[in-house]
Symmetry: C2
Subunit: 240 residues, 2 copies
């Protein structure tokens, strides 16, 4: 995929664009350049994730000291996912109309990320609706799933499958819509530097394809196994 | 919701628009007016649905004569849904670049439906990607679920939940994106006559919120019940 490299010639001729986002001619209301440096922003984000991971690990080890490692990792994933969905993506959903001017930590982080996808600064209907659904549904439900794993709740697998499928579907549509606009309509939302496209747009979102893919597969398998056992023993007609 | 009624004044002044779709100034490549009458088109679509329903009913009653009525209805729903996803929505996904000019039955049906949502004729990235996912994933999987119900397969409920959630999510995004464009950006895709908005856009899609909602709830409940029984009897550590 050579997405960020083939910039239409006419776009590269625009002198002094009012912002660094692509397409260069797109209007970004009230744009203000970030005040923090990129290392400071990425450092703050990474530190936040590390703190969430660490605290979740400590709590789960105290509450359930004998939980297997893969289950501990799954709880940590859902707590981190839920935090990002609810707070970071929720922040964008609430402030979508004035993202270009925000100088808060989350505002600046979104402006940095938007170098790989300017739709976050231009009131794109799909990105806003998908992110709102993610913040409202998959955010809180991620915390519910994390708690259900800790207490071995019987609804853990159906809810884990729902959240994971929701994350995958939103992400596939996220990739697909911008690739369609690029390849069919010639509209590119990422800056041409490869690290924005591959590091931010591709990699940051790819986690939410691979990990939910594994978790969805595990939940579907475990559920099939549960129904097989119930059917074998003829335990209940309700469940068939 | 007064969506189709508050048309911006400047749009109503456009004389002799080249097509009947909203916004009136939107470009629809190679547009040709439908050759069939509206009753003929709607009659053909209804007949097609009735034939699929009837044939499914006859087959399922022969294969599984003692299947409870609600399960027969669920099989009929998934066969009809699968047919619409795979053939009707798949037809749009394959022909999206030239929808305005098609005079086939499906082409004319889409042009009639597009009076309530012109995005189907304008290469809208979200509508295309959502419909492609629906045709590729939920279409074939709907037939798989229908077969699984017939043979009481242990994977029936996890797959029924997946297809139903996929349908709901796509549909919610479908509603949300056009309502956002209408209310925030002032772009309206439906003609102003209320029956297009309420009859086509709202009602035709609302079926895919309500019925999958019930089926998703049933599958999640049945799965929770199965895990509860497996846990009670300590049948397997795999499933917890």
């Amino acid at each position: 995929m050579a997405l960020p490299l083939d910039i239409p010639a006419n776009k590269s001729k625009i002198a002094h664009p009012p912002h660094p986002y692509y397409p260069l001619e797109v209007e970004i209301t009230g744009y203000l350049a970030n005040e923090w440096s990129v290392p400071a922003l990425l450092g703050a984000f990474s530190t936040g994730c590390a703190v969430i991971f660490g605290m979740t690990y400590i709590i789960i080890r105290r509450v359930q000291p004998r939980m297997p490692v893969h289950e501990v990792l799954t709880v940590m994933w859902f707590v981190l996912s839920g935090s990002i969905h609810l707070f970071f993506e929720g922040y964008y959903a609430l402030n979508q109309a004035r993202m270009g001017e925000l100088q808060t930590l989350f505002g600046q982080l979104w402006k940095e990320y938007a170098l790989s996808d300017s739709r976050y600064l231009t009131q794109n209907a799909f990105v806003l609706c998908m992110e709102s659904m993610t913040a409202i549904c998959w955010g809180p439900l991620s915390f519910v799933v994390a708690s259900m794993i800790a207490i071995q709740h019987p609804l853990r697998h159906p809810l884990q499958a729902m959240v994971s499928l929701g994350q995958i579907y939103g992400d596939v549509l996220y990739y697909a819509t911008s690739l369609f606009d690029h390849y069919y309509l010639g509209i590119t939302y990422s800056r041409p530097e490869a690290y924005y496209f591959w590091g931010y747009y591709f990699l940051m979102n790819f986690f939410w394809i691979v990990i939910p893919g594994i978790l969805l597969y595990n939940s579907v398998s475990a559920t099939g196994e549960a129904f097989k056992q119930v059917q074998k023993l003829g335990l209940s007609k309700k469940t068939t």
